[in-house]
């Protein structure tokens, strides 16, 4: 029998069943994540059934979709959510602090070796710190809130080995778009994607978040990085641990003879900028092969790419330049914490001087929710994770997904052009 993959080990460690070969396994979870839009859907059932929360300290809640609300209806939904959470005295209710997935990875609840479920598909992003995390719907999450448990099927694992050296102009977004090109939308359906960073340049933590985030676009249940020194450094820094102090979590690496369904090696040495054309995140081509495409809108934000390194990349690109007059460039830091760091680093000023506008940390136009929503004629280059038809606004609008650096370059040029990375700006 072959050895265990990371998700096998983490599920075993959380399993409540004696029978470890069962098709469905009952597991305990370490944390639950919820936001205004999906949690609001479960409140009536929660109250009607007279339920209580199994462990309030393990639940992280935030309002990120309607923050602040743009319509009276959304204000009512937001108030319902906030009223419910306050009524229960939830200790980890984070008001207007940013996108839930970013808040989760900024929080001590998210530890290596943990098992986390959340009422949103991009909960998978916590995989970037060696956590098996996955999104579920409101009904599943209600079940978990009441019991601290859920049911899981043990997923087969696809291992992805990143090798070579990532060129400085490429980032995590280009890596995951390339993976989407190779595997296709749904190519890792029901699978656990297990990422191994064997590059000489090492993938920084923020790049890993982008990769794990979009693992769900490939259909994966988990998108988990093997724990290494980058994981450890991130957790130590976040949790305020000194060099000798033990980590709060349990970093997991797979058994040496782990049984994988498939192993993919991705040499990043020659990886150039990638873009996903409408209307699928799997519709990926190198920027250099894209027909010139004029844009009206540029969006840097979302849980996929609104972190400090993303804002830094964009600031680097636009410093001393002007956003093209045909383009509206909206920037949304993934959390208030990220926003404060970007302020301190001077990136906010650089981007604002160039003509970009900052919105409050929230989902914004990513889900077609708020300021920056697209009209019929709009063409957007976006660092968000989904370019599904109609998602960012009008059914006829078009979204191209790309890295923050590509978003910034296109915002200056007024177009995504094949020479975006060939000519000096």
């Amino acid at each position: 029998m072959s050895g265990r993959t990371i998700s096998d080990i983490i599920i075993d460690a959380h399993s409540l069943d004696e029978d470890r070969s069962a098709l469905f396994r009952r597991v305990s979870v370490d944390a639950v994540l919820g936001h205004d839009a999906t949690t609001a859907l479960l409140i009536d059932d929660f109250e009607r059934r007279g339920l209580s929360i199994w462990d309030k300290s393990k639940v992280l809640l935030t309002n990120d979709h309607f923050a602040p609300p743009a319509t009276a209806e959304r204000a009512d939904i937001s108030n319902k959510f906030l009223g419910w959470a306050r009524g229960l005295d939830m200790p980890n209710l984070m008001l207007d602090k940013g996108i839930c997935h970013q808040l989760l990875v900024e929080h001590r609840l998210c530890q290596p070796g943990g098992l986390i479920v959340g009422a949103d598909s991009h909960t998978i992003m916590a995989g970037a710190v060696n956590t098996c995390a996955t999104g579920m719907g409101a009904t599943d999450i209600l079940f978990t809130l009441a019991t601290g448990t859920t049911w899981l099927r043990l997923p087969p694992t696809i291992a992805v080995r990143f090798t070579g050296a990532l060129p400085p102009e490429s980032g995590g977004r280009d890596v995951v778009l390339e993976l989407l090109r190779v595997l296709g939308e749904g190519g890792a359906q029901y699978r656990s994607l297990e990422f191994h960073d064997e590059t000489s340049t090492r993938l920084p933590q923020d790049d890993r978040f982008a990769i794990s985030n979009m693992a769900v676009e490939i259909g994966a249940k988990f998108g988990v990085f093997a724990a290494d020194e980058v994981t450890e450094a991130h957790c130590r820094d976040r949790d305020g641990l000194g060099p000798g102090e033990p980590l709060l979590g349990t970093p997991v690496r797979p058994d040496a003879d782990a049984g994988y369904e498939r192993v993919i090696e991705l040499d990043l040495t020659d990886l150039t900028a990638r873009v996903a054309k409408p209307w699928s995140p799997g519709n990926v081509v190198p920027v250099a092969e894209l027909e010139p495409t004029e844009i009206t809108s540029a969006f840097l934000g979302s849980c996929a790419s609104g972190r400090l390194a993303d804002i830094r990349d964009a600031a680097e690109e636009v410093a001393g330049k002007r956003v093209h007059p045909n383009v509206r460039f909206v920037v949304i830091p993934a959390s208030v914490e990220v926003f404060k760091q970007a302020l301190r680093a001077g990136y906010v000023e650089v981007l604002t001087e160039a003509g970009a506008q900052f919105n409050h940390s929230s989902c914004g136009a990513c889900g077609g929710i708020d300021k920056g929503v697209l009209g019929a004629a709009d063409v957007c280059v976006s660092s968000s994770n989904r370019n599904f038809r109609g998602r960012m606004g009008h059914w006829d609008s078009r979204t191209y997904l790309a890295s923050p650096r590509t978003v910034a370059r296109a915002a200056l040029r007024g177009a995504i052009t094949p020479d975006l990375y060939r000519e000096a700006q």
Binding site: M136, G137, T139, E185, Y190
Partner: protein, 176 residues
């Protein structure tokens, strides 16, 4: 005869609505129709794709689709919209993981073809009878298409009328 949260898992009879591969939840239910108002949620079903669908659906109709149906968001409003329109079941080559869980948890049968090529036997607009427990789809011309039988755990959720009805006894391990 449609299934619902009353725990019914009997046969469903209705017309076929055909869809392609990778139909995502933003297409099934555009974000603009996200709401706690059931009527707004109901009207949003496939609104951008074809606004006449929600108008012309009849109770018991069956959605038939290709690969990866329901990929994307975890918002259960897409399931609510399908149920509020009284769609009886969804049959696909395969389903996105979260969509399948959400549908099952809410008592909406989702079944896959035993032979994916059989998708081509099921024509849009024809009447079919689908038996979720027997896992068969009978076409208008009498052809019986085999589906993958649902597991014990899925049937248990259907029979209970949804996952939440398992809450009091939900701590017992499912058979597999």
């Amino acid at each position: 005869m449609t299934s619902g949260t009353d725990g019914a898992t009997g046969p469903v009879e209705g017309r076929v609505w055909r869809f392609g591969d990778d139909v995502n939840t933003d297409v099934i239910h555009p974000p603009a129709f996200y709401s706690l108002d059931p009527d707004k949620v109901r009207r949003g079903l496939f609104h951008g794709y074809d606004p006449t669908i929600a108008r012309d659906l009849r109770p018991g109709d069956v959605f038939v689709a290709g690969r990866n149906f329901g990929c994307g968001s975890s918002r259960e409003t897409s399931i609510r919209a399908i149920k509020l329109n009284e769609v009886g079941a969804v049959v696909a080559v395969d389903f996105a993981r979260i969509f399948f869980r959400n549908a099952t948890n809410n008592g909406l049968p989702c079944l896959t073809f035993a032979r994916p090529a059989d998708l081509e036997l099921v024509e849009a607009g024809t009447r079919v009878v689908l038996d979720p427990v027997a896992a068969t789809l009978t076409c208008a011309d009498g052809t019986v298409v085999e589906l993958v039988p649902p597991g014990e755990f899925v049937r248990e959720i259907w029979a209970a009328g949804g996952l939440l009805n398992l809450l009091p006894t939900g701590m017992s391990a499912p058979e597999s």
